[in-house]
């Protein structure tokens, strides 16, 4: 699913980042495909706040729509 549809506090694994510029930018920030993130905050039709390892990254709506994720707890259950 797209990160856009994730809920607050959900834990997700990044499967793909479809925009290349965003992908390289996030790689520099420490966020890449395969990494696990948790949604710390979300504004409807707005940005999301992700917790990844020890940092918090805010991503705008357009960027969120480029990230494909898998929900972790759903996989476990």
């Amino acid at each position: 699913m797209l990160l856009t549809h994730a809920k607050e506090q959900q834990e997700l694994q990044i499967i793909a980042i479809k925009d290349n510029t965003l992908k390289t930018h996030l790689l520099k920030l420490g966020l890449g495909e395969g990494d696990v993130v948790r949604i710390l905050g979300k504004i409807v039709c707005g940005p999301m706040l992700l917790e990844c390892k020890s940092q918090e990254i805010a991503l705008g709506m357009e960027n969120i729509a480029c990230i494909e994720v898998n929900a972790i707890h759903e996989e476990l259950s």
């Binding site: 390289t24 790689l27 520099k28 920030l29 979300k42 504004i43 707005g46 940005p47 918090e56 990254i57």
Partner: protein, 625 residues
């Protein structure tokens, strides 16, 4: 010392002994720079405080503070500036945040891959400890092949160690990592790549860097993905071996941080901050303090004393007017600057510094991102916009932190149209304070509406595409008193120098205009607008003439006019929207070009008078205020 506002990485001095302080944004580079050179450059708790280079000396070394970057490349202005310095430097001090190593080591490995002599400063060790992170410094050093020095820059811990290391910074002792192996590069390109003998440039070319690509005619575009992904994996592998986590609960900080970004409570929090700011600046300082400094000290003692002193010398009328007349250098100029502006500006700077140092601004960026996208900006723009309340000139420079030219154009325009700087706000607050809360609300709503309309129009008409938010949030921290005092002092000094000179020039011009009758002529010339269209007394024209030099100078012109409510509203709104001060226009020319600067200058005059007149007409029809 060199702290330039120009873009570019021009280092003067001993070019053979440059030590560049390089790191991700907000890792403490400017604090370390201060500790090494004794030179203070602005230190704040948000990414992107330093946007250009500052140089200083430590022994025989030329130390260079650089803008924070997440990687070395020529993608953004900051990266270009830092890359240029790094390639010139004889040594790199890579400052990393120990509490966030996954992010930080990416740049470290890149610097090492480039073969640059590097020493790693493991800063924020206090924060790492608070978060329960145990870092094996020795293991990290051997994994990187360079010296690693743990520090807490703000307390000075570890800085002595760093100082002794500066004389022998060396390249990594590890063998060069072969990225080519995992890459699919055609033979022709591989040949060109191997012909690049400079290791740093070779790595940059492999990462598809635009400027190096052009230099070596690497025509096809290479995506940095492959190299970056491999480097990311190397970082993760290092982290696994050197960091042990023993997470500690930090519930209060976490709760406060999540409250700040909550879609509902976050706005209550913002409203509470603004209300406290209003109580401190708008009520206490603007009324009690300014009443004392302006009325009691300046008007009560200082001005009569100066008038008497100057009168004592039996000067010719023109000279008396110049020094102690209505617009006199010693009377009006000093009263405005010391009596009215100084207490208010200082209190603004303190409040702004508190916000900057707490780590609140990046959280506000998240909160208002959705709103700002309607104006073609993203949340990050809230940082220059907020700083505009301190000084629009400085904030215009800060728009460099925005990602696209379009965003920089929009933010600069909004700043110079609809954001009153602290000095201007200071006079406005003092004038509004007497008119009450309802009046303040009307004034704020009108300026806000102008901001919204202008932002929306710019977003609709300007070509191009704006970027979406990507912002790494720093952790919240208690502002350090020493830094607040230092920052306020530096900013106040700049304000006094800058405002002092322009007020002086303005006062001389006004006195000359008054003596030669030019002022009456100008008043007659603009009185159809000021009197007939905006319903203000003819005297108010003087404020707009003064406002050409600085808006706060103009606003101060209304101070002793005792205007009734509607006229006061018209005057304050129009002077808020009036031309940016000369210093701001000069920076605008430099940053955004002549076309935009001229358009803003002319546009502000038209808008100020247009909106001022409209408010007056509507006010008369509705019979309000």
């Amino acid at each position: 010392m060199k702290s330039c506002h120009d873009e570019g990485a021009d280092v003067k001095g001993d070019e053979t002994n440059i030590i560049a302080l390089v790191g991700n944004p907000n890792t403490g580079k400017s604090v370390v720079f201060h500790k090494l050179t004794g030179i203070y450059t602005t230190v704040s708790n948000y990414p992107g405080t330093t946007l250009n280079i500052t140089t200083g000396k430590y022994k025989e070394h030329t130390i260079v503070d650089t803008p924070g970057v997440y990687g070395i490349s020529s993608i953004s202005t900051e990266e270009r500036i830092t890359t240029e310095i790094v390639l010139k430097a004889s040594g790199v001090v890579n400052i990393v945040n120990a509490a966030c190593l996954e992010r930080e080591l990416f740049l470290t490995l890149q610097l090492i891959d480039m073969g640059l002599p590097t020493v790693v400063v493991l800063n924020f060790m206090d924060e790492a400890e608070k978060q329960g992170l145990l870092i094996d410094v020795k293991a990290l050093s051997s994994q990187l092949g360079v010296r690693v020095i743990p520090t807490v820059a703000v307390t000075g811990s570890g800085i002595a160690d760093l100082k002794t290391s500066l004389a022998h910074i060396e390249s990594s002792s590890l063998p060069v990592f072969g990225y080519e192996r995992g890459m699919d590069i055609d033979a022709e390109r591989l040949l060109v790549l191997h012909s690049i003998k400079n290791r740093a440039e070779h790595i940059l070319a492999l990462e598809g860097d635009g400027e190096v690509g052009v230099k070596y005619s690497l025509n096809t575009k290479i995506s940095p993905d492959k190299v970056y992904t491999q480097r990311r994996k190397r970082v993760n592998a290092i982290i696994r071996t050197v960091v042990t986590e023993n997470p500690k609960k930090r519930t209060f900080k976490k709760k406060l941080a999540s409250l700040m970004v909550h879609p509902v409570f976050g706005f209550f929090f913002l409203a509470a901050i603004l209300y406290i700011a209003y109580l401190v600046v708008g009520v206490f300082v603007a009324q009690t303090v300014v009443n004392f400094t302006e009325k009691t000290i300046m008007q009560g003692y200082y001005v009569p004393y100066i008038k008497e002193m100057v009168g004592f010398f039996d000067l010719p009328v023109w000279l008396y007017t110049l020094f102690a007349g209505e617009f006199g250098i010693l009377t009006m100029t000093l009263t405005y600057i010391v009596g009215i502006l100084l207490p208010l500006v200082v209190s603004f700077y303190i409040l702004l510094s508190l916000l900057e140092d707490s780590g609140y601004l990046p959280r506000l960026a998240f909160l208002v991102d959705k709103t700002l996208t309607r104006f073609g900006l993203n949340g990050k723009a809230v940082i220059p916009l907020m700083l505009g309340f301190g000084c629009v000139t400085m904030a215009t420079i800060t728009t460099r932190m925005l990602d696209t030219k379009r965003e920089k154009d929009i933010a600069s325009t909004l700043l110079n149209f609809a954001i009153p700087c602290s000095a201007q706000l200071a006079v406005i607050t003092a004038l509004i304070a007497t008119a009450g809360g309802y009046f303040t609300l009307v004034y704020v709503s009108i300026i806000f509406a102008c901001f919204v309309i202008l932002g929306t129009v710019l977003h609709k008409v300007l070509p191009g595409h704006s970027s979406s938010l990507v912002l790494s949030l720093p952790s919240l921290q208690l502002p350090r008193i020493k830094n607040i005092i230092m920052k306020t002092f530096v900013r106040t000094k700049y304000f006094l120098l800058e405002a002092g000179i322009w007020f002086l020039i303005g006062a001389v011009i006004m006195s000359v205009f008054q003596l030669t009758g030019t002022l009456e002529l100008l008043k007659d010339l603009i009185s159809p607008i000021v009197v007939n269209w905006m319903g203000l007394p003819k005297e108010a024209a003087t404020a707009y003439v003064m406002g050409i030099v600085r808006r706060d100078f103009g606003a101060a012109g209304f101070y002793n006019m005792a205007l009734p409510s509607l006229q006061l509203l018209v005057a304050l709104v129009s002077i808020t929207l009036f031309v940016p001060c000369i210093a701001a226009i000069m920076i605008l020319y430099k940053e955004r070009g002549a076309k935009i600067a001229t358009a803003i200058w002319v546009g502000t005059i038209v808008t100020a008078f247009l909106i001022g007149g409209l408010i007056f007409k509507i006010g008369v029809v509705l019979n309000v205020l």
